[in-house]
Amino acid sequence: MTGEITGEMTGVSGPLLDVRGLTKRYGPRRACDGVGFTLHPGEVLAVVGESGSGKSTLLGLIAGEIAADAGTVSYRMRDGVTRELAALGAAERRALMRTDWGFVRQDATQGLRMAVSAGGNVGERLMGVGARHYGRIRAEALDWLARVEIDADRVDDPPTRFSGGMRQRLQIARNLVTAPRLVLMDEPTSGLDVSVQARLLDTIRGLVAELGLAVIIVTHDLAVARLLSHRVLVMRGGRVIETGLTDQVLDDPQAAYTQLLVASVLTA
């Protein structure tokens, strides 16, 4: 795709994230095969596809948790300089992930510290960026718990005592407390009851719009993509087979596989 993006639209020039040719092989299988896209500030990109399509591998590659066999991930840092992530030192990279990026995981036990209180889970990210004043950390944690609709009287409970929906809310608070500009989400609503899912989606939708976050959300649920995203990337067998404006891809799918996906959705 080509086309100049004017500064007027994004408030800045150039993309926040620029992914090119990302490739990962597991033996003969290509889990991710030459995937590329750009993401601008405030844009929400949904990556859709069935399990095994490579969409979660893609997130892992972008976050640097999986080593790529080929390709680059470049990010415009807070100082305005675009850097290739593979060229960052380990400490610099950790600092980036702890502050300017968030990662909301499908399995909350991987995104939270299960033995630490809810307030501690949120406070830990703040301490990671240098906050030391206990009263202020606690106040900020309480504020974020309220924003994700967790009652203040649960602040000292560990997430082991939380329901699935509450754990996801806590993950969101933990990630957003440092005011990141980019948040990766891996199936954040799957495995939840439908009513819980609707509430969580509404929270995510509201916060993303309010904070102007750039988001990459991996989901197998086209309704989630429709509700939250501006653009969609359809993956199959590690490759991007279709991409575009979300309602265009879902209302007028071009690829055979996308047509099958869209036609397979149950409507209530």
């Binding site: 795709m1 086309g3 993006i5 639209m9 994004t10 601008h40 844009e43 609707a198 509430r199 989606l201 509404d202 939708r205 429709r226 509700l227 501006h230 653009r231 575009g244 404006l245 309602d247 265009q248 209302d251 007028d252 071009q254 690829a255 055979a256 047509q259 099958l260 036609a263």
Partner: protein, 234 residues
């Protein structure tokens, strides 16, 4: 006059991969314009591609051939080739689209749904709040429903919320896909009045209306899509 919307030799077909790759040609060559203050109504039998033309102008159908030029201030954007970001910017500033069906957002009340569309279209929160109430009242949506999510509303009630969403921010181009389809006579009259007001205020309007009385009341010109049909299907 400078048109707000110009279709230039637009063609569209659907390839149905799930049905053996059969290709359905819908529109062979559509060319027409809509000026400010005009309400162009698409005429022709159902299945003739009227809705497809509206969806292509809004950008949720792709345009395989030709150009669809939308004026945005002193710029012109070709929706057929524009980047997703440019189309989204057009939707914030220029184009409003009212379909027959409201896409429901969980847990958000009717009035808030309308207000959000106003804020997205550039109104202040206060202006959006006042105008949402004004529109819902004019469309006779009972006030007890305003704070409730529209998921449980009747078709006609949802449609009125949808119309209010589409009209709250005064965008220069309105695309109306049968906005009165499931409304009674009283509500139809209210919608007609709103459309005429927007037309008088200089909006360019492209619409589909099955009711002859509504069409008569709002149209400044009819464009018959039969002329755009592929030869084999005409």
């Amino acid at each position: 006059m400078n048109p707000v919307l110009a279709f230039d030799d637009v063609g569209k077909s659907f390839t149905l991969h799930l049905r053996g790759g059969v290709t359905l040609p819908v529109i062979a060559a559509a060319s027409f314009t809509v000026d400010p203050g005009e309400c162009v109504v698409l005429g022709g039998a159902s299945g003739a591609g009227k809705s497809s033309l509206l969806k292509m102008a809004y950008g949720n159908y792709r345009c395989a051939r030709g150009a669809i030029r939308v004026r945005d201030g002193d710029r012109v954007v070709d929706v057929a080739t524009a980047e997703p970001r440019e189309i989204l910017a057009l939707r914030r500033r220029v184009v409003a689209y009212v379909s027959q069906f409201l896409r429901v957002i969980p847990r958000v009340g009717a009035r808030a749904v309308v207000e959000a569309a106003g804020i997205e279209g550039g109104l202040t929160a206060e202006a959006a709040r006042t105008r949402a109430a004004d529109l819902l009242a004019r469309l006779a949506l009972p006030e007890r429903l305003w704070e409730l999510p529209p998921a449980t509303f009747s078709g006609g009630e949802q449609q009125r919320v949808n119309i209010a969403r589409g009209l709250i921010a005064e965008r220069p181009l309105l695309l109306l896909d049968e906005p009165t389809a499931s409304l009674d006579a009283g509500n139809r009259a209210a919608v007609v009045e709103l459309i005429r007001e927007r037309r008088a205020a200089g909006a360019a309007i492209l619409g589909i209306f099955h009711d002859a009385d509504v069409r008569e009341a709002v149209a400044t010109r009819i464009v018959d899509v039969a002329g755009f049909r592929p030869a084999a299907a005409a």
